[in-house]
């Protein structure tokens, strides 16, 4: 057996190496992009790679990274969560709904998580029990949240964010932003959940082949619902952090994050057809988006170019991944 397969590999060692390299590049090439973009930025303006700008970059990446983790779970089970941005804004509005002192932090977090679990449950139940397409189900909850938010704030939210959120959202320790530390903790936690736990295995099976999942006795509905709940909860947390970063709250905190988080996942190799994806890829995608956004400003290009690049990047990334499979 080995004798049969060995000769071609020996006869052409270069080809084996090239194939292996190509495989590595396909798998890890995405992680070369953020450093490459950073170096490009540094080549054009030295200030770009300065400690303060890098630290600011980390600060900006954190909320998107947190949302992208949740989006990654949902996309692996063949879903899509358009309600994340609306959930973020709702969390931000809730954060200002109390007296604005640190004593309220516990009740704010509890209220946001309760709300997020409710939203995730609605999404998940509509998708699994009623067979509604994820796109429509999460779209409906997005509008629903928006309507309730506007009705609650009468279009003009007021009030203050507790100082603790301000610290978590914009404070730094030795140049490392607190919110980036939160991202690292959450990323590690959910990396273990997705890639090293029995639940994570089930998530991949439900997304990759639901029929197999059912035959194996996996409660695929439950797994899917948990993924949507996770996504909403992470969006809620990101909304609280972002409200602390922005400082003042309006009805649109996190606007555009639904598109950005999906783009981050697609760039990071999470398949739109489900069953494939990784936390690290999604995070790399989030980093790429934020670095590009930062560089557009650095190069003195009009800010509208950001939107154009984002749109082009998502199509190109999806096309590249479609070719490969």
């Amino acid at each position: 057996m080995t004798e049969v397969t060995a000769p071609p590999a020996q006869g052409n060692p270069d080809r084996g190496l090239i194939t292996a390299l190509r495989g590595l590049l396909a798998r890890f090439g995405i992680f070369l992009l953020p450093p490459a973009l950073l170096l490009l930025g540094g080549a054009i303006s030295p200030a770009f790679l300065g400690a303060s700008n890098v630290s600011n970059l980390l600060l900006q990446i954190a909320p998107l990274g947190i949302v992208a983790i949740g989006q990654c779970f949902v996309m692996i089970v063949r879903g899509l969560d358009l309600s994340v941005a609306s959930m973020m804004a709702t969390a931000a509005v809730i954060a200002t709904g109390f007296s604005g002192s640190n004593g309220d932090v516990a009740s704010i977090v509890a209220a946001v998580l309760a709300m997020a679990v409710g939203v995730g449950l609605i999404n998940g139940l509509l998708v699994t029990k009623r067979d509604v397409s994820p796109f429509l189900a999460t779209l409906a909850t997005m509008i629903l949240l928006q309507g309730f938010r506007f009705a609650y704030t009468q279009g003009a939210p007021s009030g203050n964010v507790p100082p603790l959120f301000r610290t978590l959202g914009s404070g730094k320790f030795d140049g490392i932003p607190f919110n980036f530390a939160i991202l690292l903790v959450l990323a590690t936690l959910f990396w273990i959940v997705l890639h090293r736990s029995a639940f994570g295995r089930r998530v991949f099976i439900v997304g990759g082949n639901p029929v197999t999942g059912r035959l194996l006795g996996i409660r695929s509905d439950l797994v899917t619902i948990v993924c949507y709940v996770l996504s909403s909860c992470l969006a809620g947390i990101a909304g609280l952090i972002l409200s602390g970063y922005v400082g003042l709250v309006d009805n649109w905190v996190g606007q555009g994050y639904e598109l950005d988080s999906i783009v981050a996942c697609v760039i990071g190799g999470v398949s739109l057809k489900g069953g494939r994806g990784a936390i690290l890829g999604a995070l790399a995608g989030a980093a790429i988006i934020m670095v590009i956004a930062n560089e557009v400003l650095l190069f003195g290009l009009p800010i509208q170019i950001q939107i154009i690049i984002k749109g082009a990047v998502i199509v190109i990334a999806a096309a590249l991944y479609a070719r490969r499979t």
Binding site: L126, R130, D131, V132, S133, F135, L136, A137, L139, A140, T141, M142, I143, L144, Q146, G147, F148, F150, A151, Q154, G155, L259, I262, V266, L272, P302, Q304, I305, Q306, I307, I308, K310, G311, A312, V313, I314, V315, A318, A319, A322, R323
Partner: protein, 322 residues
């Protein structure tokens, strides 16, 4: 006796085939009933003509959207394309009556071209339309904002005839939209291209294997959707008298609701434009009624979301039962 049962079976078959249309009609009747009971201003020729007039924009976008959804795709670039075309129309005309016709023609051609580009990307890159049009939407919004950050240009005063003009008491824009809809409905039913649209949506692979001109079908539906967006953009300029860079934002999602209310399946291959048109009228009626009942705009959003959720849940259930 035998003939009678045959007739009964036929009637039942007809009811099943058109159940979604009948569903919308029943809902419309229910809304009218509630309206008539709550306020005496609701049930009247004048108000209905107003509702008809206000449905123009949604009808124009939704017809194209129905076609893309029938092929199993979707067009998420409609909102940005409407914003772009309305800004361009108003900015290029800039109050000059002589430029109205050439600019209108140019804008309609541009909308169609963007639609064709969407289709070309879907075919060439083999990426799902959801992603292609989402990306295209972002690109178009960026281009729109590059062109204008705020309200731009103006149109000659008589341009608003398109939006407010009435011919024999019938609103012009709304009637154009309804005519277009009937035209598309006839095309879907009687032309080979129409049947091919259903075939591609029903089973893309089978359609390709049987040698259907998939490229032509997709080019046609996305081109139509782009054309509809440009028409909506022109209509909005006529209505507001100026183009705004965010004027189309809500239409992306709004254009999908009537399609689903009208019984077109998101998975493609089932439904039609007449249902969509009825769905548009239903939505206009509901928002008109909510206005009469003094419901705030915020709760109207909630109502819209609940309608989407109810509609999709109910239709899905029916499809499962069959």
């Amino acid at each position: 006796m035998k003939q009678e049962t045959n007739a009964l079976a036929l009637a039942r078959q007809w009811l099943v085939d058109n159940s979604s249309l009948i569903g919308v009609l029943v809902l419309i009747a229910a809304v009218c009933l509630v309206g008539a009971l709550t306020t005496d201003r609701f049930f009247g020729c004048n108000n209905f003509l107003n509702v008809y007039e206000q449905s123009t924009d949604l009808a124009l976008v939704s017809i194209g959207q129905t076609l893309t959804i029938l092929t199993g795709g979707i067009d998420l670039s409609v909102g940005s394309l409407i914003s772009l075309t309305s800004c361009l129309a108003s900015g290029l005309i800039n109050g000059d009556p002589d430029r109205v016709l050439p600019v209108a023609a140019l804008v309609l051609a541009l909308g169609t071209c963007v639609g064709l580009l969407n289709a070309a990307l879907v075919i060439g890159l083999r990426v799902h339309p959801l992603i292609v049009t989402l990306g295209m939407g972002a690109v178009l919004q960026g281009v729109t904002l590059l062109y204008a950050m705020g309200p731009v240009g103006k149109v000659p005063p008589n341009f608003n005839f398109l939006a407010y003009g009435r011919i024999a008491d019938l609103p012009l824009g709304a009637t154009i939209a309804a005519m277009l809809c009937i035209l598309v409905a006839l095309l879907l039913r009687y032309l080979p291209l129409g049947r091919q649209i259903y075939a591609v949506g029903d089973d893309d692979n089978a359609a390709r294997l049987t040698g259907l001109p998939r490229t032509r079908v997709l080019m046609f539906v996305y081109g139509c959707s782009g054309f509809g967006c440009a028409a909506t953009g022109l209509y909005l300029v006529a209505r507001f008298g100026v183009g705004q860079p965010y004027t189309g934002v809500n239409y992306t999602l709004a254009s999908i609701t009537p399609v689903i209310l009208g019984g077109t399946a998101l998975s493609g291959g089932k439904g039609g434009v007449i249902g969509t048109l009825l769905g548009v009228y239903l939505i206009s009626l509901v928002s008109n009624l909510l206005n009469f009942m003094d419901v705030s705009k915020h709760y109207q959003l909630v109502a819209q979301a609940l309608i989407i959720i109810l509609a999709v849940s109910v239709y899905v259930n029916r499809r499962r039962a069959v």
